[in-house]
């Protein structure tokens, strides 16, 4: 146990120490030290994680020290909960994190703030591990806000551009709205259970016997958590920050805004699944939110020209899938998709980054084309990624997405099914579009493209292998696989097992066939449409809606931001300036005026004063007399 404690502490502290180190050393020792150091640190953290992964059989709690004592019988501890759920995600975070660190050493070469970049990245890994491993809601919240901070810092990494800084601020503020929900949820849960420790809360739920009042507060908590999760995982209505977050360096987009941080919402809901099961309505909300987001984001992704924006909307869409799965009571499917998505989306982002790097920071797909010759490794890696996300068997994306589609189709909710399948088709189409526009046809840009350095291509290849084979982790039993992940997670989350019968087998085969057909159709359509691309996109008034992202940013701006600014101004000039200060200054000038009037009495003639004294004496006398 002591070893476990040490491992856990090391695993989290190494990136934290790294974060402070690189900030100090970055400027002094140059890139080489920083890149070697940062990668070594992360790999060390990954190894610790692996050690814990194999060292823990059941769930284990590691307690470090008391953080905040709330009252005599409740306190918040810095403590970790090591169970399959957290360890799996921890492995992904540190593993994919290490790969992306390696990649970033190549991508960020020559940047004047090299050290600062790795400092932030390490800080992010620290926060993410806190989020994943924490055993209390407050510790989780520490990581939750910490990743938000790192996301903010990294989005506005190139801060000389005002737009980047604004995008970072937007990300942080929108996340904060979610965090507000999370915070309220913590309060409500504390109200009900008197503790903020996750295992304690869950065991209390297992015991049951909640009063009506407690049920009410647990419902409030669910809504708060949904708000929090939708903020972090960029679901409708708080999705607006993620596309703008692409202003950050591409490794950041891959690590934070695709593979790890944005999946925190899914993780949170899986973690507290019993709570949501208690309030069935909230799961329904999650499912519909996910389905809607998936469809919405996919429809927008088709019309984006910025390669990273396409991937950003794709991420939102895939996250929608995960929410859909969680909402329909299939957390393992969601978790599985989370993992495979981490692989192939990181791959896609890094591939896109490689292209951008090769083209000297050109992100517009209209200015690309025909790159498969210049960048063969990138091309092939990306191809794997595209096929995986499009759901072509037997790549990882196919398996995980198929599980989700299976859940949806058997849930009996037609609307959700339609959304899910439509999204699958659209996903294939926009990914095909991206693929074709980038790697086929004629080169339409200005710069000569080169293949990226080894540090980057190595990572691409590794991720491509993972994306291709990731499906094996949870290959369905129906098809003769062994559902490793399902088994592993079964102690933590509840998911209905698919019964093994010939009927189910037929159904699943049919489904798999249909979904891969959809994927192929999408890709094929994209190939036909964009093979000889001449700069012409679909043109129709309706499509403007998609191009402009349903005008949601504008809507928020008009409905909320401007109004708040207006209110701020009114409060400042109106309430503070006019009402309060006006009243008080009025009091002041009133007094002055009165004094000016009364000043006339002060003639300076001593005798007149004597008259006043006399009158005063008289009044006193009169008063004394009347009192008598």
């Amino acid at each position: 146990m002591a070893d476990l404690k040490l491992l856990a502490a090391l695993c989290v502290l190494i990136p934290l120490v790294g974060s402070t180190l690189w900030f100090w050393l970055g400027a002094r020792f140059g890139e080489k030290v920083v890149s070697i150091g940062a990668v070594t640190f992360l790999v060390a953290s990954f190894l610790c994680m692996l050690g814990m992964f194999f060292g823990v059989h059941e769930a284990a709690r590691v307690d470090f020290f008391e953080w905040i004592r709330i009252s005599s019988n409740a306190s918040v501890h810095f403590s970790f909960l090591l169970d399959p759920l957290s360890l799996t995600l921890g492995l992904i975070v540190t593993g994919v994190g290490s790969l992306i660190h390696v990649y970033a050493t190549g991508y960020m070469k020559g940047d004047p703030s090299f050290g600062r970049f790795f400092s932030y990245l390490n800080l992010f890994i620290f926060s993410m591990l806190m989020l994943v491993l924490s055993d209390s809601l407050v510790g989780l919240f520490l990581g939750w806000e910490g990743v938000g901070l790192c996301s903010y810092l990294l989005i506005s990494f190139w801060f000389s551009e005002e737009a980047n800084a604004i995008a970072g601020k937007k990300a942080f503020v929108v996340n904060r709205i979610g965090d507000f929900g999370f915070l309220i949820a913590i309060f409500a849960l504390f109200q009900v259970f008197g503790t903020v420790s996750i295992p304690d809360i869950l065991s209390a739920i297992h015991l049951g016997n909640l009063t009506a009042d407690q049920m009410f507060w647990s419902k409030i908590a669910c809504f708060g958590l949904i708000l929090g999760a939708s903020g972090k995982s960029a679901q409708i209505p708080l999705h607006i920050w993620l596309p703008d977050a692409m202003a950050g360096p591409t490794p950041v987009s891959a690590l934070i805004h695709a593979a790890t941080m944005v999946t925190a919402g899914v993780y949170l809901i899986c973690r507290l699944q019993p709570l949501f099961l208690l309030n069935g309505g909230s799961l329904e909300i999650i499912a519909y939110m996910g389905g809607l987001t998936a469809l919405f984001a996919a429809s927008v992704a088709i019309f984006q020209n910025d390669i990273k924006k396409v991937l950003a909307y794709s991420t939102i869409s895939q996250l929608g899938y995960m929410f859909l799965a969680v909402g329909l009571g299939a957390p393992v499917a969601a978790y599985f998709h989370l993992m495979t998505h981490a692989f192939f989306k990181a791959l896609l982002f890094l591939g896109a980054g490689s292209v951008i790097h090769g083209l000297h920071h050109e992100q517009n797909m209209h200015k690309m084309g025909g790159l498969r010759k210049q960048m063969p490794i990138t091309f092939w890696a990306m191809t794997v990624g595209v096929l995986a996300i499009a759901g072509i068997p037997p790549l990882s994306g196919f398996v995980s997405k198929d599980e989700i589609l299976h859940t949806v189709s058997t849930s009996g909710r037609t609307a959700l099914s339609v959304m899910a399948f439509l999204t699958a088709f659209m996903t294939a189409f926009y990914m095909g579009r991206l693929w074709v526009l980038t790697f086929f046809g004629k080169f339409r840009g200005h710069h000569e493209a080169d293949e990226s350095p080894l540090s980057m291509t190595f990572v691409l290849v590794t991720l491509a292998i993972l994306s291709a084979l990731g499906g094996l982790l949870n290959w369905p039993e129906l098809w003769g696989g062994h559902e490793l992940l399902n088994e592993f997670l079964s102690s933590v989350v509840v998911q209905k097992k698919i019964e093994i019968s010939s009927e189910a087998f037929h159904h699943s085969l049919l489904l798999a066939g249909f979904s891969s057909l959809l994927g192929l159709a999408g890709l094929g359509l994209a190939w036909l449409r964009y093979r000889n691309f001449s700069g012409k996109e679909f043109e129709a008034p309706v499509f403007n809606l998609f191009k402009k992202k349903y005008y949601i940013d504008e809507l928020y701006d008009i409905a909320i931001v401007r109004n708040l600014k207006q209110i701020g101004w009114i409060l400042w000039k109106g309430v503070d300036g006019l009402c309060i200060d006006g009243f008080l200054n009025g009091l002041g000038t009133g007094t002055t005026r009165l004094a000016n009037r009364l000043r006339g009495m002060q003639t300076g003639l001593a005798q007149q004063y004597a008259v006043w004294v006399w009158i005063g004496f008289l009044l006193l006398l009169f008063g004394a007399w009347t009192v008598r």
């Binding site: 005798q607 008259v611 006399w614 008289l618 006398l621 007399w625």
Partner: protein, 181 residues
């Protein structure tokens, strides 16, 4: 009506008349002269009241010393009417009203407390009232603090006057008694 009563009324009437003259004769020197007369009459009243020593002091200090100071200053300044200024015209009506008001209060006092109107008891035979001896005994025993304070006040007044006189010489605005423009 007894003799002493008649004398008292005569004195009272004279005191009031002289007081009026003091207050309303236009030239200060006249006022001062009438005031001296007034003080003499008051001294007489004190004799009637049996305070002989006080009466003496009244004549010596008040009428003698203080009033001489006044007259001396009046002579020193030697003012013409323009420099004296015109007196204000506080309405006589309000003054009368005021007097009437005070009289009313005093009268009502009479009504409510008639014992005020009783004649004062005669001075007991063998009493030392009003003599220097009795006065000085009281002054130097019971009222020693007040006595000392009076001395201090006088000292302060002397210092104050000295200061005022001293400043006159040093004041740069005044050279040879005339103001510099």
């Amino acid at each position: 009506m007894e003799n002493s009563q008649i004398v008292f009324f005569i004195f009272s009437a004279l005191i009031l008349v002289t007081a009026g003259l003091v207050a309303f004769r236009p030239r200060p020197v006249e006022s001062a002269m009438w005031l001296i007369l007034n003080f003499f009459l008051t001294a007489g009243l004190y004799v009637l009241l049996g305070s002989h020593f006080v009466a003496v002091i009244q004549v010596l200090v008040y009428a003698g010393a203080i009033m001489v100071l006044f007259v001396f200053v009046i002579l020193l300044l030697n003012l013409d009417p323009r420099e004296l200024g015109t007196d204000s015209s506080v309405s006589w009506g309000s003054l009368i009203l005021f007097v009437a008001f005070l009289s009313f209060i005093l009268l009502s006092l009479h009504v409510t407390t008639p014992e005020l109107l009783e004649k004062m008891p005669p001075i007991k035979a063998g009493s030392t009232f009003g003599t220097v001896e009795a006065l000085s005994k009281t002054l130097l025993t019971d009222y020693i603090f007040g006595f000392e304070m009076a001395g201090v006040i006088l000292l302060l007044a002397i210092m104050g006057v000295g200061l005022l006189a001293y400043r006159k010489i040093n004041n740069p605005r005044i050279v040879n008694g005339s103001e510099r423009p």
